[in-house]
C-alpha cells in the first residue's frame, strides 16, 4: 500500500496509507461522528475547504450509488480521513467503490491512522488547517506548506460551490414559489422544499435581491454553505435587502447570514458540530429532535434578542439552533432538518416554513 501523510498546522502528523486519488490537498480538518452517510458527507458543499475525518472506523462498506448525493459533480470535501477503508463494498444499490469514486473526482484520502487520537487532538486543540499528501512524504515540508496556506476563514469557498446559472429544481404552477439562494445548497433541502409543497427555483448566492423579488416568490430560502460567513459581505448585503420583503428562511450558513444581516455577532466553535446525533429542543413545542449537524460557526442570539426569539437549543452544549424574528416572518435554523445524512426527526421544520408562508399569504 502506498504511504500517505496528514500534517496539522500545529505540527502534529499521522502516517497512514493512501486511498482515493494520489496528490496533495489542504483544508480545515474537522471530524464527523456519523456512522453512516459518507457519500452524503463527501458531496455536501458545506465541506468545501475542509478535510473530513470520519470517527466511525469502517468506511466504504456499502460503496457509492447514484442517488445518495447532496450535490452534483462529485465530492466537495478537500480530503478524506478514515481508520479503515476496504475495497469490497456490499449493497444492492452500490454502483462503484468509494475508492474508484474518490479517484474519479481527484479526492485525496488517507486511511490507517488512529482517527480517535486525531479526533481527541482536534477536540482538545480545536479544528485547524491540515494537509494530506501522497506525493510529498516529508512532514517538515508539508508543515511549511500548510502554514503558508491561508486559513479557511480567509477564503470564499461559497463562490466556488454555488450554481452559476439559476435553475428550476421543481416547477409546478399552482404551488407557492420558493427561491433558494444557493451558497452551496444540499439537494436534500431542495427535495424537502418540494415535499412540503413548494415550487423550487435555485439562484446563485450572488444574485441581486431585486432580481429575485421580481419573480414574486412566496418565500426565500438562504441555503447552507461552506466557510466563515463573516467574509461573505456580498451575501450579507443581499440578505439585508431582503429583510421584511418576503418570508425568509435560513439553514446553517443561511441562518448565520440572517444573523449578520441584522447586526448580530458570529462566533466560531472550537471544533464545530459535525454528526447525526445532537439533540435539539424545539423551545415552543418541547419536542426533542435528534439532528444532523454540520457547522463551525454560531449566531450569538444574545445581542439580537430585541429582534429574535430563540426557537431551538442544542442540548449538548446549549448553543443556539434556531431563531425567529419578532416582527417579520423570518425563521432560520442552525442544524440540518433536511438530514442527508442523519435522522429525519427535524423534517417538521420544513412544514413550519410552509405554514409561515400560508399564514403570511392569509394576512
Amino acid at each position: 500500500m502506498k504511504k500517505a501523510l496528514l500534517v496539522l498546522k500545529d505540527g502534529t502528523f499521522f502516517e497512514g496509507f493512501s486511498f482515493g486519488a494520489q496528490g496533495e490537498s489542504i483544508g480545515e480538518v474537522v471530524f464527523n461522528t456519523s456512522m453512516t452517510g459518507y457519500q452524503e458527507i463527501l458531496t455536501d458543499p458545506s465541506y468545501k475547504g475542509q478535510i473530513v475525518v470520519m470517527t466511525y472506523t469502517q468506511i466504504g462498506n456499502y460503496g457509492v450509488n447514484e442517488e445518495d448525493i447532496e450535490s452534483i459533480g462529485g465530492p466537495k470535501v478537500e480530503g478524506f480521513v478514515v481508520r479503515e477503508y476496504k475495497d469490497y463494498p456490499s449493497n444492492w444499490r452500490a454502483k462503484e467503490s468509494l475508492n474508484d469514486y474518490l479517484k474519479k473526482y481527484g479526492i485525496v484520502g488517507i486511511q490507517g491512522i488512529d482517527t480517535r487520537a486525531l479526533t481527541k487532538h482536534l477536540r482538545d486543540k480545536g479544528s485547524q488547517m491540515g494537509i494530506i499528501s501522497t506525493v510529498d512524504l516529508n512532514p517538515l515540508s508539508l508543515y511549511s506548506k500548510v502554514n503558508a496556506h491561508p486559513d479557511i476563514s480567509e477564503i470564499d469557498h461559497v463562490s466556488t460551490v454555488m450554481c452559476k446559472e439559476p435553475y428550476w429544481f421543481h416547477k409546478e404552477e399552482n404551488l407557492p414559489l420558493c427561491v433558494v439562494y444557493d451558497f452551496g445548497v444540499k439537494r436534500s433541502i431542495l427535495r424537502n422544499l418540494k415535499r412540503v409543497g413548494f415550487s423550487v427555483y435555485v439562484v446563485s448566492g450572488k444574485t441581486p435581491p431585486e432580481e429575485v423579488l421580481q419573480m414574486s416568490p412566496q418565500c426565500i430560502m438562504l441555503s447552507n454553505g461552506p466557510g466563515d460567513p463573516r467574509i461573505l459581505n456580498y451575501a450579507v448585503d443581499n440578505v439585508k435587502r431582503l429583510i421584511g420583503k418576503k418570508p425568509l428562511f435560513g439553514i446553517c450558513l443561511g441562518h448565520q447570514l440572517i444573523g449578520l444581516a441584522l447586526g448580530g455577532r458570529i462566533y466560531k466553535l472550537k471544533f464545530g458540530h459535525h454528526g447525526g446525533n445532537h439533540p435539539v429542543k424545539d423551545l415552543i413545542t418541547g419536542k426533542i429532535s435528534i439532528t444532523a449537524q454540520n457547522h463551525n460557526y454560531c449566531v450569538d442570539i444574545e445581542n439580537l434578542k430585541d429582534q429574535f426569539r430563540l426557537t431551538h437549543r442544542n442540548l449538548y452544549d446549549g448553543t443556539e439552533e434556531g431563531m425567529e424574528h419578532v416582527e417579520y416572518p423570518i425563521f432560520s435554523v442552525q442544524h440540518h432538518p433536511e438530514a442527508g445524512p442523519g435522522p429525519n426527526d427535524a423534517l417538521d421544520v420544513f412544514v413550519r416554513f410552509r405554514e409561515i408562508v400560508r399564514e403570511y399569504e392569509r394576512v
Binding site: 505540527g11 457519500q39 481508520r83 449538548y316 445524512p341
Partner: protein
C-alpha cells in the same frame, strides 16, 4: 417532567432461573433498575426465584422475595407489600407474562397497582401476532406474508398468496420440532400434514420464507414526552433463519447506507409509538431482502431484552437504568449521560469501534441434540468483543469464547463436509467459512451457501489470506523492520499470539517476546457514547492496535491511550468468568461482583476484566475500571502490565481465571488469596491423595488406567459400579457410571482415547450414597464452615444438577460435626485464604471426600442468600488482609428455616435429548425455595422449577427393578394423600402384590390406550420414572419426552420422589406463605 411522587413503592419482577433464551442479562437489567429506583428514593420490592443473582442480594431492594414466580405467590406479595406500581419490563418474558396474568385476573386492579413502563394493551399489541400485524399495517410497515392455519384445506388456500419458499411452524411443539421449509407444493403438502399432526392444537403458522435475508435489530427508547431515540443498531452476521440469540451479531450496522438506515430508524420510531410502549426500551427486528432492499418488520419486544443488554454494553448507554427512570416519570432530557456527565440521555450514541457478539454453545453436553441452528435458540451464553475494526473485534471474540480456539485454525474436513457446514447453520460455521476460503472457495460460492453478506466474508478472507502469507515467513531470516510491520498488521487484524505462534512455528511466549522487543502493544480506548466528541469520565475500556503519531519537533511516537491508569497503590484486578456455559454461569459473576463490592468498601481501586455482555460485572458502574477484553493470557497480561496492580484475584471466576494461574505466576504476577500450589494440591490426583492420607480422611478407592487392560484390572479390584472419566476435562464431561465389564469396554472404546498422556480415572462409585456440598471461608488461620448442603439426588448425579437442602435434612449431628471438622482440617492444611468448596459422600455413616476446590463454588450465592452473609465479598476482604474475626463471622451460623436449591434444565430446547440425570452436568440455572421446614422449602423450589405442584390426581409410576422396594412407601404415601396410582405392568404387579390399589396402563408398544395417551389428555398429574440400562432408557424416553411437552411434573430419581411426596404432604397441611429474605435473615443465629 419531574419524577412521580404519587408512587412510593414499586414492585419489580425478576426473570427467574437461567434458561436458554433468558440468562443473566436480566440480572444486569434488574439490578440496574433496583439501584436506579432506590437512588430516586423509591421503596423497591423485588421478586425472583433465582438466588444466584446480584439483584436478589438483600441490599439491592428494600424487600426481596426469593419465591416462586407464579401469579398466586405474586398476589400474596402484593397483598402484603401493597406497592403502588409494578415495573414488568425488566424481567424478561417471565415478568411480562406474569404482569399480563395479574392484570387480566384483576389482581392489579384489586390492589390498585399501576403497571408502569408498558401497559397491558401495549404488551398485548406487541406480543399477539395478529394484533401486531394489524398495528404495523396501520402505520404502513411491510411484514412477511403469513397466516395461521388449522386445517389442510386452509393451508392449501393460504399458500396461494404466501408463495414459495414457505416456512411451516407447528404451534406448541417441543423445541419447535416438526417445522420446515417447503420449496414446492409437493413438499408443502407433506410438511403441512405432518406439522398439523404434530401440533397439539393442530395449528400451523405458514410464513413467507425470509431465509437468507439480512437481519437487523434496533434498540429503541421512548419517554413520556414522546421523545424517541435509537440507542444501538445491530446487524446480524448470520442471515434470517438463525435465532438472533444464536447469531453472530455486529454493532453498528455495516452494510446499510444512511438513507436505508434512516428508513429503518423511522419505522422503528413509528412502531414504538403505535404499539404504545409508554416509556422505556424496546427491541425491534427487521429483515431486508439483499436483492432489492425490501424491508419487513419481524417483531418487537416491548421490554428490555438480551439485545438491550448487549446494546448497553456496546454503546455505554445503560438502557435498563434509564428505562427505570423513565418509568417513574423522568424524560430523557432530564437524565444525564453518565459517561460525559455534561450531556443528556436524549441523544443517540455514536460508535468509533466495532462490536461483535458471538454465541457460546454447549452441544458437547448434549451429543444427541440436533446441532443445526434454527429459529429456536440453542446457545447458553455469549461473548462480546470490541475492536476498532470488525476483524479485530472478531478475533478477540473468538478467543473470548474459551472453546480452545485462538483464531481460524485449520480444519481437516472434506470439501463435501465443508459445503454441508456452510449450508446448514451450526456452531462452527465461522471456522468452516475460513477453511473454505483457505481451500479456494470464492466469496460468491460461500455467499450462495451461507447467505452471509459478502462484506463480512471478505473481511474473513482478508484475515485468512494474511495468515497464509505469514506461513511463508521464516522467523530466523526476516529483518526486524519487516517483521515489525507484519506482526503489527496481524495484531490489527485481530490475530492472537497463539495463532501467530502456530503460523510462524514459534511458541506463544516467543511471539510475546518478539512483540516486546519490537514495541508492538495495544493502546486502550474508551467506550464513551460519543466517539470522543466529549470528554468521558467513565473508564470503560477496550484494547486496539493503533499506529502512533508524531510531532515535527520530536521523533517520539504518541499513542493517546485513553484513561491512563491511576498511580493508586491499592488496586486489585479481578478476572471475570467469561461466557456463560453449562457448569460456569451467573454464580461466578455474582462472586466476582461481590469481590468488587468487598474491596471497594475497603477503599481499594477495583479493575474488572471480562468479556460477557450479559453480566453485572461488565456494567461500567460495578468496578472502578472495566476492561472489556478476552480472558486469555495475552490480553490479561497486557492489562496487568498497564495497570500494575497490587495483585490479581482469580478465585471468583470459576475455571476461566484459574486456568491462567500458573502462567500468570510464571510472569511474576502476584495472585491474591490461596496459593496456586494449594490449588494444585487439590487438583492433582496424586497430590490430593497424599493430602487425604495426611489428614487421615477417606476417599473412594480409585485407580488410573492408560489402557483398556489396565482399566479392566482396576475395575475388578474396585468392584462395579465404577465412575470413569478422562483426566483432562473438567466439569464432569464424558464422565460415566459403569455397571459391568461390557459397558467399561464400550466406554474405553468409544468415549475416550486413553493414553500415557491422557489416563482415564476410575473411582469406585458409591451407590446410593448421600452427597454433601460444603462451602467454607478461611483467612489462613481460622476457618468458618458457612454452609453444609445435603443433596437430594444420590452421589453420581452431578452436584450442579442435584437439588440440595441447607441445613441437611437427614444427617445426624455427629456426622455434621465430623464434616465440619474435616472441612476445617482441609482448609487449614491448604492454608486457604478465601473460599473453599468440598464435596463429600456419605455411605453407611462413613464420610468420603470426593473433591476439594479451594475457590468460589457454584453454591456461594445460594449459601450467601441462605445464611445472610456475603461470602464472596468477605473472601475478597480476606485476600487483602482482613481476618474472619475482624469481619465478624463465627463458626456457629444457624438458620431456623430451610432453603432448597433446585437445578433447571434446557431439555425443552433439545427434544432429542433424554432428561435422565447423570455425572455429566446439564443444568443451566437454579432456583431456591425458602420456608420453615424442608417439605415447604422443597415444595417452593419445585414450584419455581416446574410451575406447579399437583395436590391431587393420578401419579404414574414406572421404575427399574432396583427401585421397586423403595417406591412402595412413596406410592403408599401418595395414596394416603388422596392420589391414585397408575403403573406399567412390572411396577403395577409389584405394588399390587404388596396390597396397593394400582391401575394398570399399557406401555407405548403394548397397545392403546397407553401412557402417552394419558399424558396427552392430561390425565396424569405426576410422573415417577427411573430406568436402568441404555435399552430401557431408549424404550421409555417417550414418557419423559411427553412429560416435557405436556408440562407434567416428573422426577427421574427415587430420592426426588421421596422429597416431592414430603412436599405435597406439607403443602396440604399448610397454606403457602411468603416472607422476604430480609425478614428471614433477621433470624440467623451465630
Amino acid at each position: 417532567m419531574p419524577k412521580r411522587t404519587d408512587i412510593r413503592k414499586i414492585l419489580i419482577i425478576g426473570s427467574g432461573p437461567i434458561i436458554i433464551g433468558q440468562a443473566c442479562e436480566f440480572d444486569y437489567s434488574g439490578a440496574q433498575a433496583c439501584k436506579a429506583l432506590k437512588q430516586e428514593g423509591y421503596e423497591v420490592v423485588l421478586v425472583n426465584s433465582n438466588p444466584a443473582t446480584i439483584m436478589t442480594d438483600p441490599s439491592m431492594a428494600d424487600s426481596t422475595y426469593i419465591e416462586p414466580l407464579t401469579a398466586e405467590i405474586l398476589e400474596l406479595i402484593i397483598k402484603k407489600e401493597r406497592p403502588q406500581a409494578l415495573l414488568p419490563t425488566l424481567g424478561g418474558q417471565t415478568a411480562l407474562n406474569l404482569a399480563v396474568e395479574l392484570g387480566e385476573s384483576g389482581v392489579l386492579e384489586k390492589y390498585s397497582v399501576e403497571l408502569i413502563g408498558a401497559n397491558l394493551q401495549a404488551i398485548k399489541k406487541a406480543e399477539d401476532r395478529e394484533l401486531f400485524k394489524k398495528a404495523m399495517m396501520k402505520i404502513g410497515l411491510d411484514l412477511p406474508r403469513s397466516s395461521a392455519v388449522n386445517s389442510f384445506k386452509q393451508g392449501l388456500e393460504v399458500i396461494e398468496w404466501i408463495g414459495f419458499p414457505a416456512i411451516l411452524r407447528p404451534a406448541f411443539t417441543l423445541g419447535g420440532t416438526g417445522g420446515g421449509v417447503a420449496y414446492n407444493i409437493e413438499e408443502y403438502k407433506e410438511l403441512l400434514e405432518r406439522a398439523l399432526k404434530l401440533s397439539p392444537v393442530s395449528q400451523v403458522l405458514v410464513e413467507e420464507s425470509l431465509l437468507g435475508w439480512k437481519e437487523y435489530e434496533l434498540e429503541v427508547m421512548r419517554d413520556k414526552a414522546d421523545n424517541v431515540v435509537i440507542v444501538c443498531s445491530i446487524e446480524n452476521f448470520d442471515p434470517m433463519g438463525v435465532h438472533t440469540g444464536d447469531s453472530i451479531t455486529v454493532a453498528p450496522v455495516q452494510t446499510l447506507t444512511d438513507r436505508e438506515y434512516q428508513i429503518m430508524r423511522d419505522a422503528a420510531i413509528k412502531a414504538i409509538r403505535e404499539i404504545g410502549v409508554d416509556t422505556g426500551g424496546s427491541n425491534i427486528q427487521f429483515a431486508v431482502n439483499p436483492q432489492n432492499g425490501r424491508m419487513v418488520i419481524i417483531e418487537m419486544n416491548p421490554r428490555v431484552s438480551r439485545s438491550s443488554a448487549l446494546a448497553s454494553k456496546a454503546t455505554g448507554f445503560p438502557i435498563a437504568k434509564i428505562a427505570a427512570k423513565l418509568a417513574v416519570g423522568y424524560t430523557l432530557e432530564e437524565i444525564p449521560n453518565d459517561i460525559t456527565k455534561v450531556t443528556p440521555a436524549s441523544f443517540e450514541p455514536t460508535l468509533d469501534y466495532v462490536v461483535v457478539k458471538v454465541p457460546r454453545f454447549t452441544f458437547e453436553k448434549f451429543p444427541e441434540a440436533n446441532p443445526t441452528l434454527t429459529t429456536q435458540m440453542k446457545s447458553v451464553g455469549e461473548v462480546m468483543a470490541i475492536g476498532r475494526t470488525f476483524k479485530e473485534a472478531l478475533g478477540k471474540a473468538i478467543r473470548s469464547l474459551e472453546i480452545g480456539s485462538y483464531g481460524f485454525e485449520e480444519i481437516n474436513a472434506s470439501l463435501e463436509e465443508i459445503r454441508w457446514r456452510l449450508k446448514n447453520p451450526n456452531a462452527e460455521r465461522l471456522w468452516y467459512i475460513a477453511e473454505a476460503i483457505r481451500r479456494g472457495f470464492t466469496i460468491q460460492e460461500i455467499y450462495e451457501l451461507t447467505g452471509i453478506d459478502p462484506w463480512f466474508l471478505n473481511n474473513i478472507k482478508e484475515i485468512v489470506d494474511f495468515e497464509e502469507s505469514l506461513k511463508e515467513v521464516k522467523l530466523t531470516s526476516i529483518r526486524d523492520k519487516e517483521l515489525q510491520e507484519l506482526i503489527f498488521t496481524a495484531k490489527q487484524k485481530g490475530i492472537s499470539d497463539r495463532r501467530l505462534a502456530n503460523l510462524l512455528e514459534a511458541s506463544e511466549e516467543q511471539i510475546r517476546k518478539i512483540r516486546e522487543r519490537l514495541n508492538i502493544k495495544p493502546t486502550y480506548k474508551l467506550v464513551d457514547t460519543c466517539a470522543a466528541e466529549f470528554v468521558a469520565h467513565t473508564p470503560y475500556m477496550y484494547s486496539s492496535y493503533e499506529r502512533g503519531f508524531c510531532h515535527i519537533n520530536s521523533s517520539e511516537l504518541n499513542y493517546a491511550s485513553d484513561a491512563p491508569p491511576t498511580d493508586n497503590g491499592n488496586k486489585v484486578i479481578i478476572l471475570g468468568s467469561g461466557p456463560n456455559r453449562i457448569g460456569q454461569g451467573i454464580e461466578f459473576d455474582y462472586c466476582c461482583v461481590h469481590s468488587v463490592f468487598g474491596l471497594r468498601e475497603l477503599g481499594y481501586e477495583t479493575i474488572m476484566i471480562n468479556c460477557n455482555p450479559e453480566t453485572v460485572s461488565t456494567d461500567y458502574d460495578t468496578s472502578d475500571r472495566l476492561y472489556f477484553e478476552p480472558l486469555t493470557l495475552e490480553d490479561v497480561l497486557h492489562i496487568i502490565e498497564r495497570e500494575k496492580p497490587l495483585g490479581v484475584i482469580l478465585q471468583f471466576g470459576g475455571q476461566t481465571p484459574l486456568k491462567l494461574a500458573k502462567a500468570l505466576e510464571a510472569h511474576g504476577v502476584n495472585i491474591l488469596g490461596t496459593k496456586a500450589d494449594a490449588i494444585d494440591r487439590a487438583e492433582d490426583r496424586k497430590r490430593f491423595k497424599e493430602l487425604v492420607d495426611k489428614l487421615k480422611l477417606k476417599q473412594p478407592p480409585s485407580g488410573t488406567a492408560t489402557s483398556l487392560e489396565e482399566a479392566l484390572k482396576i475395575a475388578d479390584e474396585l468392584g462395579y459400579p465404577i465412575l470413569v472419566r478422562p483426566s483432562y476435562v473438567l466439569g464432569g464431561r464424558a464422565m460415566e457410571i459403569v455397571y459391568d465389564e461390557e459397558s467399561l469396554r464400550r466406554y474405553m472404546r468409544e468415549a475416550v482415547k486413553a493414553s500415557e498422556d491422557h489416563p482415564v480415572l476410575i473411582d469406585r462409585y458409591l451407590e446410593d450414597a448421600i452427597e454433601i456440598d460444603v462451602d467454607a471461608i478461611s483467612d489462613g488461620v481460622d476457618v468458618v464452615v458457612a454452609g453444609i448442603m445435603q443433596h437430594i439426588e444420590e452421589a453420581g448425579i452431578h452436584s450442579g444438577d442435584s437439588a440440595c437442602s441447607l441445613p441437611p435434612y437427614s444427617l445426624s449431628e455427629d456426622i455434621i460435626e465430623k464434616i465440619k471438622e474435616e472441612t476445617i482440617a482441609i482448609a487449614k492444611e491448604l492454608e486457604v485464604k478465601g473460599l473453599m468448596n468440598v464435596q463429600y459422600a456419605i455411605k453407611e455413616s462413613e464420610i468420603y471426600v470426593l473433591e476439594v476446590n479451594p475457590r468460589a463454588s457454584r453454591t456461594i450465592p445460594y449459601v450467601s442468600k441462605s445464611i445472610g452473609f456475603p461470602l464472596a465479598a468477605m473472601a475478597a476482604k480476606i485476600m487483602v488482609g482482613k481476618t474472619l474475626r475482624e469481619l465478624g463471622l463465627s463458626n456457629n451460623i444457624k438458620i431456623p428455616y430451610v432453603t432448597v436449591k433446585e437445578a433447571i434444565f434446557p431439555f425443552d430446547k433439545f427434544p432429542e435429548v433424554d432428561v435422565i440425570l447423570g455425572p455429566e452436568m446439564k443444568s443451566t440455572g437454579e432456583v431456591m425455595g425458602i420456608d420453615e421446614d424442608f417439605g415447604l422449602a422443597y415444595a417452593k423450589a419445585q414450584m419455581s422449577a416446574m410451575g406447579k405442584i399437583p395436590l391431587n390426581g393420578r401419579v404414574f409410576i414406572s421404575v427399574k427393578d432396583n427401585d421397586k422396594a423403595q417406591v412402595l412407601p412413596i406410592a403408599k404415601e401418595f395414596i394416603e394423600l388422596g392420589f391414585t396410582v397408575i403403573a406399567t405392568r412390572g411396577t403395577a404387579k409389584f405394588l399390587q402384590d404388596q396390597g396397593l390399589k394400582v391401575e394398570l396402563i399399557n406401555k407405548l408398544q403394548e397397545g392403546r390406550p397407553n401412557v402417552l395417551d394419558l399424558i396427552k389428555n392430561k390425565q396424569i398429574s405426576f410422573i415417577i420414572n427411573t430406568v436402568f440400562g441404555k435399552q430401557a432408557q431408549k424404550d421409555s424416553m417417550y414418557i419423559r419426552r411427553g412429560a416435557l411437552q405436556y408440562k407434567i411434573p416428573y422426577t427421574t430419581t427415587i430420592s426426588g420422589a421421596k422429597a416431592i411426596v414430603k412436599a405435597i404432604r406439607r403443602l396440604k397441611e399448610h397454606p403457602i406463605s411468603i416472607r422476604s429474605i430480609q425478614e428471614y435473615h433477621k433470624e440467623v443465629l451465630q
